[in-house]
């Protein structure tokens, strides 16, 4: 019979093997590629003469670094807004939906099975000068002319990304909220706390881990986002991911693309590690 300790290798082994084989090794390949001095198409099997030329190119181009910073900021705003707006949804599912919670949750996720490209095409319809949102706003007399910034701009990218991420962000928040036991809330009520007090002093603090998980889950991939900027960002909404995508796609310059990707990866890991440390310190202090 397998005790706790004996089970550990079976718990750690499969994921570790999978990740090493299908993630670490390929990532290593990317690192090797980023150290290639050749640009453009590199036939597999050609000699590898490591060099930092590609990294030099990136670090020497202030525009690239500024774009990285801007993309990280956009990701921060999107993650914050999405987590904030996801919170009421998750709260509803955890505490108000009762028996139907799973049904409601599934309903939230199903739209994601629809092609993102097609959904964004209809979203463009809604955001455009003749679209639903502008018609509503001008019909209500709130604006004189159609709002330009809703489409082909950086704000359009932010709005769309927040919209897309809310259901996903709700999941870790929900999981975190489900950890809260009735007994804790009952105890607070017994001590005289009203509903708002219970919310702020019991529910919110206990749900922080879920919210933090949601924030990171949104933040990290959004730094490298490129699909949404391509479709509705116009020239003002271009993000760092567009650069990477360009070099791996039509421009066919894998070494430079790899270097760009590695720099983004390092920055993101540093940001997340720092944030994780800050969050832990606060929890220790509270």
């Amino acid at each position: 019979m397998l005790g706790r300790r004996g089970t550990l290798p079976f718990l750690v082994g499969p994921p570790l093997a999978w990740l090493v084989g299908l993630f670490v090794v390929p990532l290593f390949v990317i690192v090797l590629f980023s150290l290639r001095p050749e640009s453009g198409i590199v036939p597999p099997g050609s000699a590898w003469n490591p060099s930092l030329i590609q990294y030099g190119k990136v670090l020497d181009t202030p525009a690239f670094l500024r774009l990285l910073g801007t993309s990280a900021l956009v990701a921060f705003i999107v993650a914050g807004a999405a987590t904030l707006l996801a919170y009421p949804v998750a709260y509803f599912l955890a505490f108000r939906a009762g028996e139907r919670a799973t049904l409601y949750l599934t309903l939230l996720l199903v739209p994601f099975a629809v092609s993102y490209l097609l959904r964004i095409m209809t979203w463009k319809l809604m955001l455009g000068p003749a679209g639903v949102i502008n018609s509503l706003l001008s019909g209500a007399g709130m604006i004189g002319e159609p709002l330009d910034l809703l489409l082909y701009s950086r704000p359009a990218v932010v709005i769309t990304l927040v919209y897309v991420w809310i259901p996903f962000a709700a999941l870790p928040v929900l999981a975190g909220l489900q950890r809260i036991q009735r007994s804790q809330l009952e105890a607070a009520a017994d001590l005289g706390a009203g509903p708002w007090a219970r919310f702020w002093r019991v529910t919110v603090p206990l749900s922080v881990p879920g919210a933090v998980a949601a924030f990171f889950m949104v933040f990290i991939p959004t730094v490298g986002e490129y699909v949404t900027p391509t479709l509705i960002g116009g020239t003002g909404g271009i993000m760092y991911g567009n650069l990477i995508q360009g070099f791996f796609g039509s421009a066919g310059n894998w070494p430079l693309g790899a270097a760009l990707a590695m720099i983004m990866l390092v920055l993101t890991v540093v940001l997340v590690a720092t944030a994780a440390r800050i969050v832990n310190v606060r929890r220790l202090l509270s």
């Binding site: 198409i41 391509t230 360009g246 039509s250 066919g252």
Partner: protein, 372 residues
């Protein structure tokens, strides 16, 4: 929360998907093997090539209309497709050892395939439709005098503009004109931007100097805010913008011109003083294929009248089959391809081959423009 709920939900979901998958299963390979054994038992003494063909193709060209003649002549041969996203991607896939028998790419990349031994000569004596291809096109498919590539589709790049908002366009520099700020759309491609600047300033496309490239970069950084957006995909980025009249001036291929005109948008396709740009799509036969005869058959059928008319009529791209081009009656297409103008192909600027170094410099330049 009921304990066995989740297990049941999983089982139902998973089995439903398997059932659905079974219902939609279409297995051409099964029918192919059946007919293979049937023809084997007929005992014909032909070298036993595998009777299926894999094409490394651009998305959209897997439509059966684009190999209609082949499908009609050889219905038992399954045609499968591997997709490439760009010329660079297709070259990359061939280099990485793609199993494709035949691949499709556009002007300017011929040399790379030959240099790396990825392509073999096309035996044009076996092609029944070869005579219909104009000589100038045949020449573009040759490297060192050897016919490695088969020209198939072609077209122009020029300025597509809204005739209600823009007076007649006579020069490529309209793409850089601040008067139309917010209503221009440029293709998201560095080499294209270099080409436009080369036309406007009279630079030699094949010999752009560092100073010229720096000037070009500055020019396009200034141009960037004039765009509504850069377009990447003709039919889902550019065309809707042209048709809802957000975009008044665009770097475009003639496909969008025809599409927009058919939908009633007031557009025209410019004949700028510097000349239009034109490009040709080529097919090559992989050096490693074990279905050479089948590939030849496939390419020959690709040049046939029905298939090539489909390219013209369904996709609004030019066909390398001159008979088909001469038979065009639609005035929109006649205008788009300049069929009326016999000198059009002489006054046009074909995309020249560029070296790896040039391509790298130009794409990196464009990335800097995008990042500004």
């Amino acid at each position: 929360m009921p304990v066995h709920f989740v297990r049941r939900a999983f089982v139902v979901l998973a089995s439903a998907m398997l059932v659905l998958a079974a219902c939609t299963a279409v297995s051409p390979s099964e029918s192919a093997t059946e007919s293979e054994s049937a023809s084997e038992s007929a005992a014909v003494s032909v070298a036993p090539e595998p009777q299926e063909i894999l094409v490394l193709e651009w998305g959209g060209y897997d439509d059966p209309a684009f190999f209609a003649d082949f499908a009609a002549a050889s219905p038992e041969v399954p045609v499968s497709f591997e997709f490439g996203l760009s010329d660079a991607d297709i070259l990359g896939k061939m280099e990485a050892g793609s199993q494709a028998d035949v691949f499709h790419f556009y002007s300017g990349w011929q040399q790379f395939y030959v240099d790396q031994g990825l392509v073999q000569e096309i035996d044009t004596s076996q092609l029944t439709n070869w005579d219909k291809v104009p000589d100038s096109f045949k020449a573009q498919g040759q490297v060192n005098g050897i016919q490695y590539f088969l020209p198939w589709d072609w077209g122009f790049s020029s300025i597509l503009y809204n005739t209600e908002e823009v007076p007649e366009v006579t020069s490529w520099d309209v793409l850089l004109d601040p008067a139309y700020a917010g209503h221009i759309s440029m293709w998201n491609d560095g080499p294209a931007a270099v080409t436009v600047s080369a036309y406007v300033h009279g630079y030699d496309e094949t010999a752009i100097t560092d100073q010229q490239l720096a000037d070009i970069e500055a020019e396009w950084i200034a141009q960037k805010p004039l765009n509504a957006f850069y377009w990447s995909s003709e039919y889902d980025d550019l065309c809707p913008g042209v048709m809802d009249q957000t975009v008044w001036i665009a770097y475009a291929w003639q496909g969008c011109y025809a599409t927009a005109l058919y939908e009633g948008t007031p557009v025209a396709y410019a004949n700028p003083s510097e000349g239009r740009n034109s490009w040709i799509g080529f097919y090559g036969i992989s050096a490693d294929t074990d279905s050479y005869q089948l590939a030849l058959q496939f390419l020959d059928d690709k040049l046939a009248d029905l298939t090539m008319s489909n390219v013209v009529n369904l996709f609004y791209y030019g066909a390398a089959n001159q008979d088909v081009m001469d038979a065009i009656e639609d005035p929109v297409l006649i205008e788009a391809f300049g069929v009326d103008d016999p000198a059009i192909l002489e006054s046009t600027n074909f995309t020249p081959p560029v070296t790896d170094a040039q391509r790298t410099a130009w794409t990196e330049m464009w990335a800097r423009v995008a990042a500004e």
